[in-house]
């Protein structure tokens, strides 16, 4: 039977297991939208195509599948660029489908024509221009395969309008995808494994680095087994949070620019770093010339291009993290390492005190309190989706994630405006989970139009706006490094409570510390989405902090114990 390219598209998507897509219609994608009505697809209408990509990204990160975003040609496609780049830098599996002007019009500067495969070439894992209906099925299959295999990433499919409209016979092919130049299943030789195992067993002061790869390969239990057997402490990257239980005694906390001081000091003292699915980003290493000079490095990653990119490693192990670790685990010797752990405890000293909950109420509302109370009230069980900036770092420090895929955040690209749409996507992937978007007043306004999507889809996503009236992290840098010259960082904000009400949602403002817990509880009990605005201390800063380019253990510590009993 003959089918149109548009029909083939939806059938192919369903064959890939797609049930939900996030999109926005337009001229060049109209045939696909028309055909969509014949298929069991839940379409979430966004308010801006950037929102569609972040939703697809959040959907993928929360649920572990592939997120799908749909847009039209030209501006629809270019609006996706930020979301695609976000997914690329955080290795999130996503398929973006864009309409393209008819094949005969390509290159003629037709209405809403943009060379989106050219535009997205450096920010996609791969992309395709599809101009014939007979190529649709195969291309969709390849796109999903490429997006989710190996190191995941975004794939864009640009389908011309005539390829959607015209018909062809279709035969469904269940064979494996063959891409001769694509090798997602690399593995290291046995000799390399042995060197890694010897190094682990000989190490006196090892640290495991838990990266995003733990989530992507589902390696939580193997990482835990290795850490426990050999008594190796575990430090987290931002995207690795949740890959190892926060409340586990071996969990050190987050490393890097706003990581815990004792974690960074321990890294500088360590004799072996076990990098599990992380990529030594500059936010993690600080100054490379002084980074972990005493440590040998074992780097396990599915993408060999990451080896020796920033940090010279002694043993690179290519492969899927879970597979590699399962092979290593039986050979890891039981270890005590109590003196190393005691040394780290000593570095912690009293700065590890995080019992900020019992501090006397100074009359000020600090973001750290808000996040910490949110953690306690939700019992650490919510999926928290953050934006980028100070609140993101406070979330990483004060919300203790015990479960994988429970913190969703834009790490690599640092995309403001990510939280609200990504939280919507996470809710669609995990409808039974409690989902919170934690977002600054700046980032929230970049994609706040998606409140309408929440209202239209009637989903329960709670939003905590950490409102300090500034672009807080930029203000912090201006305070520290630019002599407090606050260029373009103070914000005049709308009334967020009224804004929520304008969208038919509930809004609440909290200005006192005593109001935080009741506010969070009320939001959880309310049937619909609630926007909770926390009016927090305006010029608070995130501590500790490694200034850009400084050595990892040369941190700016908290000058006054504002929210903690100990100098941090």
């Amino acid at each position: 039977m003959k089918r149109t390219g548009a029909q083939i598209l939806w059938e192919a998507l369903i064959r890939e297991g797609v049930s939900t897509v996030f999109g926005y219609p337009g001229g060049a994608i109209l045939p696909a939208y028309d055909a969509m009505l014949e298929f069991p697809i839940q379409h979430v209408l966004v308010r801006h195509e950037q929102g569609a990509t972040h939703m697809a990204d959040g959907y993928a990160r929360a649920g572990g599948g592939v997120g799908v975003a749909v847009a039209t040609s030209g501006p629809g496609a270019t609006n996706m660029v930020t979301g695609i780049a976000t997914a690329m830098l955080d290795s999130s599996p996503m398929v973006c489908i864009t309409g393209q002007v008819g094949g005969k019009l390509i290159g003629s500067d037709a209405f809403q024509e943009t060379d989106i495969t050219g535009v997205t070439l450096p920010i996609t894992k791969h992309n395709y221009l599809v101009s014939r209906p007979q190529d649709v099925a195969r291309t969709v299959k390849e796109a999903f395969y490429v997006a989710k295999s190996g190191r995941p990433g975004p794939v864009l499919l640009d389908i011309t309008k005539d390829a959607q409209q015209s018909s062809c016979e279709v035969e469904w092919d269940d064979s494996e995808v063959t891409l001769p130049g694509y090798r997602p299943d690399l593995r290291a030789t046995q000799e390399v494994y042995q060197r890694a195992i010897d190094m682990i067993n000989e190490a006196k002061r090892p640290i495991i680095f838990a990266g995003h790869g733990i989530m992507l390969s589902g390696a939580m239990d193997v990482v835990r087994a290795i850490a426990e057997r050999a008594n190796i402490p575990v430090a987290m990257t931002l995207l690795g949070i949740g890959g190892f239980p926060a409340r586990h005694p071996l969990n050190l906390g987050m490393m890097g620019m706003h990581g815990e001081a004792w974690v960074n000091s321990a890294i500088q003292e360590a004799d072996l770093l076990l990098a599990f699915g992380m990529r030594f980003d500059d936010r993690v290493t600080g100054n490379l010339a002084t980074y972990a000079q005493n440590a040998k490095k074992i780097h396990i990653d599915i993408d060999p291009a990451e080896f020796n990119k920033n940090v010279k490693v002694d043993v690179p192990l290519t492969g899927d993290l879970r597979t590699v670790l399962e092979e290593i685990l039986p050979h890891v010797a039981e270890g005590d390492r109590s003196s190393w752990r005691a040394a780290i405890e000593e570095m912690k000293g009293d700065c590890a005190v995080r019992d900020i909950q019992n501090l006397p109420d100074s009359g000020h509302l600090y973001a750290a309190h808000v996040i910490n109370d949110l953690w306690r009230v939700t019992d650490g069980d919510a999926i928290v989706v953050t934006d980028v900036g100070q609140h993101q770092m406070w979330e990483a420090q004060y919300y203790h994630h015990d479960h994988p895929r429970s913190l969703i955040t834009s790490g690599g690209l640092g995309t403001m405006g990510f939280a609200l749409p990504a939280a919507i996507g996470a809710k669609f992937a995990c409808p039974d989970k409690e989902v919170w978007a934690v977002v600054g007043d700046g980032g929230f306004q970049m994609t706040q139009a998606e409140l309408a999507t929440i209202a239209q889809e009637q989903i329960k996503v709670n939003v905590a706006i950490i409102n300090n009236g500034y672009l807080g992290m930029v203000r912090q840098w201006q305070e520290f490094f630019y002599d407090r010259r606050y260029a373009a960082t103070p914000l005049l904000n709308p009334d967020f409570v009224k804004l929520a009400e304008a969208y038919g949602l509930s809004g609440m403002a909290v200005t006192k510390r005593a109001g935080v817990v009741p506010g969070v509880e009320a939001a959880r009990e309310h049937a619909g989405a609630v926007i909770l605005e926390f009016k927090v201390e305006q010029e608070d800063s995130v501590f500790p902090m490694v200034p850009a380019g400084a050595a990892l253990d040369k941190m700016i510590r908290r000058p006054n114990p504002i929210v903690e009993t100990a100098a941090d």
């Binding site: 070439l121 450096p122 891409l179 390399v192 291009a305 020796n308 990119k309």
Partner: protein, 188 residues
């Protein structure tokens, strides 16, 4: 130092763009790039010369492999290889100077492929420094126009080389000799 890569790619639309874009995105300069068909239908071969250190060359190789359409990457810099550049040089040549030009052409084992009253076109093939040398000596007569293909390169076979005229002696090398001593393998 200069690194020469032989890159086998699928012959699909946009593949040149993907490869070139990778060099630009990762901040490497391409000194020359040539592309053409290979012995296998559907497979094109690029010879890419880039100025980078060994670390950069490894990163380039690893990142080239990440492109879905790239089949195989060989950094043939460290291997015995033959490298050739083809040039067409239009040189001013009056009846008085033409004989001198022709003699130089002979010395460089180049050929004259077009003669006009006031100029000749010379075709020369060889390693880049040989072409550079020819251009240098022709400059005094007036180089009107020049086009060069850029370097094309091929690793030598496992046997003794030496196919006669102008070919350097090769040494015997194992197939797929490792390009460096690092443990990183990007291809397996």
């Amino acid at each position: 130092m200069r690194h020469t890569f032989a890159v086998h790619v699928e012959d699909t639309p946009g593949v040149l763009n993907r490869v070139a874009s990778l060099f630009r995105r990762r901040a490497f300069n391409i000194e020359s790039l040539t592309v053409g068909h290979t012995e296998t239908a559907g497979v094109s071969r690029m010879t890419i010369v880039a100025d980078t250190d060994d670390h950069g060359a490894l990163r380039l190789e690893a990142n080239l492999y990440k492109l879905v359409n790239v089949l195989r990457v060989d950094d043939i810099t460290v291997r015995p290889s033959v490298q050739r550049d083809l040039a067409m040089i239009k040189v001013a040549a009056t009846p008085e100077t033409r004989t001198h030009v022709m003699q130089l052409v002979d010395v460089f084992r180049a050929r004259v492929i077009d003669v006009a009253p006031d100029s000749v076109i010379i075709e020369a093939t060889g390693p880049e420094d040989k072409i550079d040398g020819l251009v240098e000596v022709l400059r005094q007569y007036g180089v009107i126009e020049m086009v060069r293909t850029g370097c094309v390169a091929m690793a030598r076979g496992p046997k003794i080389g030496g196919l006669g005229d102008g070919v350097e002696r090769g040494t015997q090398v194992a197939d797929d000799a490792p390009a460096d001593d690092s443990n990183v393998s990007y291809s397996v």
